[in-house]
Structure formats: structure tokens, C-alpha cells
């Protein structure tokens, strides 16, 4: 598998290396031991994206483990991209899990520092942070390319091989340092990067100009983070309450305008049940339609931005939207016209 010019030969690596505008998805594991939740979400992603990120206890809330969900996804015909944070595991546990992940057939790995546990449902827990995202990348690269454990001991036998991902937030500060930090991650071993959700195209394009000037896009595939917004409330929340996120006012305005002319929630309350249900659906359809249109516009703009190799679609708790987004944007294995003859 590794003598064909690929580092690991995953779908994601192949699509990026082939020069297709790649699309990846994301699946948040359940806060229970219920496999059917994974199966339900998976049906909306199968065949539509190259690979699906599986979050690692995102926002520090306890969820089904990323590696176990990855196995379920592979059984369902979906290529997983496991996320691994430095919050809950030290270098011993991470390396151990990665040996197992490779043996189970997992080939994509996103290396993250991890959300602080104070955001989650166990704020009294102890965090680890033995490594950080950069030193984690370095360790995983050395396990793959130098066949050594972090301590320097040789890996006798099969080494764990992953197509290595990193995250970067172009909207965090200091803005001037962000392209350099991306370069640092590339230097530490990142093969691809998935960015924070983009709702400020101008700032992202400025970030990318600097990344391209530094030549970092030639060393690492950059997937722009995108996602559909479902409601005005969600847009305002992201704009004001989520650190490290920027939402341009025009998007909030467009979502607000999407339901213009439709009965307001107050008017719906006064309606007969049947009429109210129809009116509610009309509002929902209008909002969701606009949310998806905005997302597709952002994808198209990313595609026009030099150095962007694809998009990472985060449709959190709205996996159904991914198919429509990819269809409208004409991207991914299912809808990219360039791939219909070869795939």
C-alpha cells in the first residue's frame, strides 16, 4: 500500500493527490453506547464525502470513543478520519491507541490539542496535555516515517501509518502569526489541514494570501472549514458567544430576511394546528434553504481562493444537509463532474 507513492493510500489522500477539490464530513459520536445513532448519521454521509471526521469527545463532553465509531463507519462503507486530542491521553496512551487504530484499518488522523475540560460536562477532571497538537503531529510523523516511538525506540514490525491532519483557526489571534503556525504544523508533519468554520471570507482570503506567500499550501493540503447555519439564533450565537469565530453580519441579515413574508412565530401560535404545522415547515424550509445557499457560496468562494484544496463540511447535528450542499457545490465523489468518469 505504501509503495505506490501514497503515504497511506486513503481515499482522502488519493483525492487530494489527484487534484480533486476534496470534501470531508464530520460526525459527532453519541453521548451513549447506542450504535444506532452512528448508523443513522452515517447514512447521510456515505459516498458523498472522501472521509468523515469523528470527533474525540468534542467540547470535552463524554462521547463514544472516536476509534470505536471509526470501526463502525468502516463497516458501513465510510472512510473515517479519527480525531485525537492531547487533553485526555498522555504519549503512552496515544501511541497505544494509534497502534490499535492502524491495525483496525484506520488511515486518517487529525491531531488536535483539544478543547479545555472546563467547557464540557466534567469540569472537575484533570487534563493531561503531555503533548500539544504540534508535538503530537511530530510524534505521529516519526512513528510513520522513522518507525520510532516518541522515546526513540524502534517500532519492530508494522508501524502505524496515518495521513496526518491538523486544524488551524484563521480567525484566532494573533492573526499575523496564524499562517506561520500553520507552517509550523506542516513542518511538524501535517499532510492536510482543516480550518475553523469560515463565515468571514475576506479575512480567510487574507489568511490564505499570506499562507500562499509563504508557500505553505505546497507542503500541506488546506481544507477550508464550512458549514450550514440553521437559524438566526445559531448565527448570532456563533458571532458573539464562540471564541475564535467570526460571522459577517450579512449572513445573519440574509437568514433574518429568509423568512420575510412568512408568518411569524407569534402569528403561527394563533393558527389552527394543521395550518401552524404548514407555516412552521415553510419557515424551516426557507431558513435551511438559505443556510445551505450561504454554505455553497462560501464553498464556491473557497474554490476560487488560491491554495485551497477542498472543504471540510461541518454540519453538526444536521448531517442530512451534506448531500444537498455537495450536490449544489458539485463537489465530492458523488457530485463532482470531474470524477464521474473515473470513480
Amino acid at each position: 500500500m505504501s509503495d505506490n507513492g501514497y503515504k497511506v493510500g486513503s481515499n482522502l489522500e488519493k483525492a487530494l493527490k489527484a487534484g480533486y477539490f476534496a470534501a470531508t464530513g464530520e460526525l459527532g459520536p453519541p453521548q451513549s453506547a447506542d450504535r444506532s445513532v452512528v448508523e443513522h448519521k452515517a447514512q447521510f454521509l456515505r459516498g458523498i464525502v472522501e472521509s468523515v471526521n469523528i470527533t474525540d469527545n468534542q467540547t470535552a463532553v463524554v462521547r463514544m470513543s472516536s476509534i470505536s465509531v471509526a470501526v463502525m463507519l468502516m463497516e458501513l462503507g465510510i472512510e473515517p478520519n479519527i480525531q485525537m486530542t492531547c487533553r485526555d491521553r498522555n504519549r503512552i496512551a496515544i501511541q497505544s491507541d494509534l497502534l490499535g487504530a492502524h491495525a483496525l484499518g484506520i488511515r486518517n488522523l487529525l491531531c488536535l490539542t483539544g478543547d479545555h475540560q472546563t467547557f464540557g460536562n466534567h469540569p472537575q477532571s484533570k487534563n493531561v496535555h503531555d503533548l500539544d497538537s504540534v508535538s503530537l503531529l511530530q510524534m505521529c510523523r516519526d512513528m510513520r516515517d522513522k518507525k520510532v516511538f516518541q522515546c526513540g525506540d524502534a517500532i519492530k514490525g508494522q508501524e502505524p501509518r496515518f495521513f496526518l491532519g491538523a486544524a488551524e483557526n484563521p480567525f484566532a489571534d494573533p492573526f499575523e502569526f496564524r499562517p506561520y503556525r500553520l507552517g509550523k504544523k506542516a513542518a511538524a508533519g501535517a499532510d492536510f489541514v482543516q480550518t475553523q468554520l469560515i463565515y468571514n471570507m475576506g479575512k480567510f482570503q487574507e489568511f490564505m494570501r499570506r499562507v500562499v506567500d509563504l508557500g505553505i499550501h505546497e507542503r500541506v493540503y488546506i481544507l477550508a472549514g464550512v458549514g450550514p447555519i440553521k437559524s438566526v439564533v445559531a448565527a448570532k450565537y456563533m458571532a458573539t458567544k464562540v471564541p475564535g469565530m467570526e460571522v459577517e453580519p450579512q449572513y445573519i441579515q440574509r437568514l433574518t430576511d429568509a423568512t420575510k413574508g412568512l408568518p411569524s412565530p407569534e402569528q403561527i401560535k394563533a393558527m389552527e394546528p394543521k395550518e401552524a404545522a404548514q407555516a412552521r415547515k415553510a419557515r424551516k424550509d426557507a431558513l435551511e434553504g438559505e443556510g445551505i445557499r450561504i454554505c455553497v457560496e462560501i464553498i464556491n468562494a473557497c474554490r476560487e481562493t488560491e491554495g485551497v484544496a477542498g472543504v471540510h463540511i461541518m454540519a453538526i447535528e444536521w448531517e442530512e444537509a451534506v448531500d444537498e450542499i455537495c450536490r449544489q457545490a458539485k463537489i465530492g465523489p458523488k457530485y463532482d463532474p470531474a470524477r464521474q468518469t473515473t470513480e
Binding site: C86, R87, T113, P243
Partner: protein, 224 residues
């Protein structure tokens, strides 16, 4: 300096419930400077406990004494009679002082009246901010003199992470705590040393920190 804060009065009251004669033992060094366990704080706590126990109809004999430095045997010798005469000792020293007194006077149980919370700098009147985590392998030379181990919520060696916005760390609910990596960036920029930030820092050696077990320094040149 070592900084500490007094435990809630209710917790201290519960601790001394079974005792009749209680000694509140202060320390004249770090905890005096941070207004947690010096002579004055000993007097205040002793008064509070006298009043509280009187109100509860079970007045106790609360005594006061403060030594200059509770983490060294020779200073505690001066409190020996007071300690022996009490049923129970509540130490208003840091965790080191509490353990020193317990070790020195094993027949008496000495309890902590403070929560020791860090190696901190008084940044303004009434405010102490943690500055050092005693990791045993100082990195300040590479970070513009600002410590990411103690001051970054994730102890990142290759920060800042994506949660740094307008110079503020996302972790703290007050939304006022500076992101130390933002400060490191600005400091190195001012020093013309931004290239330092381009170095990939490999996993830190934590064996010199608490992770290596209890630390002990032995200086043969100083031993008798």
C-alpha cells in the same frame, strides 16, 4: 511567593468539632505577605471561631501563635509548648508548613486552615496571579520570559491555540484572563525574536515535574 487562601469557616469549624483546646498557628513568611496566614489572620480566625463556637453553645479554648517560618523545624521549636498544650492545631501556613509541624510534633494532629494555590505574583493590590508551576525544567529562555506551563490553560509548548482572541484566553469564564501565548508573541516581536516561535518544540520532558514523582534536591556541597 507561595500563595494561599483560607478555607471556608464552616470547613474549619467542622475540622475542630471534637477538640476543646485549639491552637491556630500562623506563619510569618509567604502567607503573611499574601494576607492568608500571618499574625493578623490568625487573630481574625481565632475570634471568628470563638464567636461561632460560643453561639453554638460549645465555646472552645482557641489560642493563637505565629512563627516566623513554619516550614523549618527551628522556627517551630518556639511554638512547641503551645502545640503540646493544645488538643488540635490548625495551621495557617502553606501545605509545606502543615506537614512540617505534623512531622515535628507527631503526637499532635495539625490540620490545614488554608488551601495552598500556587507560586504567584501580586499583580495589583489584592490580586495574585500564578506564574510558576515548578516544572523543574525552566523554559522561560525560549518564551520571552513568560511561562506557558503555568499560564497557558493547556500548558502548550507550541501556542497559541485557536482559542486566543483579542489577547484573551477562551478558557476563563471572566473573559479577562490574557492568553499567555499572545503575550509571548508580542514580547518576542518587541525583542525582534519572532523566529523563536518558528521552532517546533518536541514533547516536553515532564519527568522533572511532579510527574516524575516527589522531587528532592540534594546538594552534597551543603551537607554537613
Amino acid at each position: 511567593m507561595i500563595v494561599a487562601q483560607q478555607k471556608p469557616l464552616e470547613e474549619i469549624k467542622a475540622m475542630i468539632a471534637g477538640a476543646e483546646k485549639v491552637l491556630i498557628l500562623g506563619c510569618g513568611t509567604c502567607v503573611t505577605v499574601c494576607f492568608a496566614g500571618g499574625e493578623k489572620e490568625v487573630a481574625i480566625l481565632a475570634s471568628q471561631l470563638r464567636m461561632a463556637t460560643r453561639l453554638a453553645g460549645e465555646e472552645k479554648d482557641i489560642r493563637e501563635f505565629t512563627v516566623q517560618r513554619q516550614c523549618e523545624f527551628e522556627y517551630n521549636d518556639l511554638a512547641a509548648d503551645h502545640i503540646r498544650d493544645a488538643d488540635l492545631v490548625v495551621s495557617l501556613a502553606c501545605g509545606i508548613g502543615v506537614q512540617t509541624v505534623n512531622e515535628q510534633f507527631p503526637q499532635k494532629l495539625t490540620l490545614p486552615g488554608l488551601n495552598t494555590s500556587g507560586l504567584s505574583q501580586p499583580t495589583e493590590q489584592g490580586v495574585w496571579e500564578e506564574r510558576c508551576q515548578a516544572c523543574g525544567d525552566c523554559v522561560l529562555a525560549t518564551t520571552g520570559g513568560l511561562c506557558p506551563v503555568a499560564r497557558c490553560a493547556k500548558s502548550l509548548m507550541n501556542g497559541p491555540c485557536g482559542g486566543s482572541q483579542r489577547g484573551i484566553c477562551e478558557v476563563y469564564a471572566d473573559r479577562q484572563t490574557p492568553c499567555v501565548w499572545d503575550q509571548i508573541y508580542k514580547r518576542l516581536e518587541a525583542l525582534g525574536q519572532l523566529d523563536r516561535l518558528m521552532e517546533v518544540h518536541s514533547p516536553k520532558n515532564w519527568s522533572t515535574s511532579r510527574d516524575g514523582g516527589q522531587r528532592k534536591i540534594t546538594r552534597e556541597d551543603l551537607r554537613l
